[in-house]
Amino acid sequence: MMSEHILPKRLYYTVFGLLMLCTYLTVQAAFIDLGVLNTVVALAIAVFKATIVVLFFMHVKYSTRLTWAVVLGSIFWLGILIVLTLSDYLTRRWLTYGGA
């Protein structure tokens, strides 16, 4: 049963603290030159932030399997869109129809 039991406020404050910390880190990291890693770090932090928001603020951690399925499904389909499209762009340099 989704969101039946009520989460302690403490939990919310902890998550909030983490989010703030991450925000601070990501801004700091942006000014250090890590090469490609800058992008990786920024996105990794963003993904982490998103995850804890979904799990705790949006109560998914305590929700039905169906809710989990919906959440993961949306991520999976986003993956399809991006991966299959890039599968075209990233392999163009090898052989493109009309190329060579």
Binding site: L95, T96, Y97, G98, G99, A100
Partner: protein, 319 residues
């Protein structure tokens, strides 16, 4: 002509290969369509409901049947896939030695430029039995060059060079269509491909060509646009020496290796700062809007012709 053909003439080395797969597919289609239709009619008659309250037998299914009619079609499709893919590869990869012809599509006409100068519109003359490569681009929207008799087709995309290659096997006149919808006169953007015997073709070549070769036109443009102020044969210019450049790999300031092909030269002219060659300042101005698509093709052909050894025969690709 008053006759009504039901099958297209096959006039290229690729046509028979495509047709063969086509016939195989027709076989599969006829077989399964007749199978399904036959069964439907047979059952409909045999088991026709006789009394109003009759009910069918309670049959729920059969695993092995399900497996069979999943696996068999799957295997058939895999045959089709491999076959189709292999022929597609052949269509998509032009042979090394080709006779190159430049094509510019615009709403709503086809412009062809032959290496030694002839220009034609909506009509394309090619020799029989030679590998011909059309290097196409578009001035405005996406077009698509389609020659049914050759079974080849490719979208002609603005800002890109798309190659279409074929080897004509039969002299004659064949339809040339624009197959990608491109606006009002899309259906008027048609022409003819004229396939000629080698000898006739040579006569035809020598017929026109007053303007001099494409490379020559490019050389003239190269001077008019003052490219030569920076790009000189000797390394005294502020720009890199272009001689022998085409086909080489150059390193950009970003450190990536890029092959100098048509697309690269085009970009270097229209958008020089995109890939700045290592060891040079990004001082080359953009020529966006100053050079027409034809002009670009001439410049490209000129850059191609600047081979270290001048006796590189003009009729063959730099690679």
């Amino acid at each position: 002509m008053g006759t009504t053909p039901l099958f297209p003439v096959s006039a290229s080395t690729m046509a028979p290969r495509v047709d063969a797969l086509y016939f195989f597919l027709i076989g599969v289609t006829v077989f399964f369509s007749l199978l399904i239709a036959g069964l439907i009619v047979y059952y409909a008659v045999k088991y026709h409901r006789r009394s109003t309250d009759a009910v069918g037998e309670r049959i729920h299914g059969s695993l092995w049947l399900e497996v069979t009619w999943s696996v068999v079609p799957f295997l058939i499709t895999m045959v089709i896939f491999v076959w189709g893919a292999s022929v597609y590869f052949a269509i998509a990869s032009p042979p090394a030695e080709t006779l190159n012809i430049y094509v510019v599509g615009k709403q709503w006409m086809w412009k062809f430029q032959h290496l030694d100068g002839q220009r034609e519109i909506n009509e394309l003359h090619v020799p029989v039995g030679r590998n011909v490569k059309l290097i196409t681009t578009s001035e405005d929207v996406i077009h698509d060059l389609f020659v049914p008799a050759f079974r080849v087709k490719a979208d002609v995309i603005p800002g890109r060079y798309v190659n279409i290659w074929f080897n004509a096997t039969k002299p004659g006149r064949y339809h040339l269509f624009c197959a990608e919808y491109c606006g009002t006169r899309h259906s008027g953007m048609i022409g003819e491909v004229v396939v000629m015997e080698e000898t006739e073709y040579q006569d035809w070549l020598s017929g026109g060509g007053q303007e001099g070769s494409l490379a020559a036109a490019g050389e003239k443009l190269f001077a008019d646009l003052a490219c030569n102020t920076c790009h000189r044969p000797d390394s005294a210019g502020r720009g890199p020496v272009l001689t022998g450049l085409f086909g080489q790999t150059v390193t950009t300031q970003a450190g990536e290796m890029v092959v100098v092909d048509e697309a690269y030269v085009r970009e270097s002219i229209l958008n020089p700062s995109a890939k700045v060659t290592a060891g040079y300042q990004p001082i080359m101005p953009t020529f966006q809007g100053l050079v027409s698509e034809e002009g670009l093709l001439e410049l490209i052909e000129y850059v191609k012709s600047l081979q270290a050894q001048p006796q590189a025969q003009p009729l063959s690709d730099a690679r």
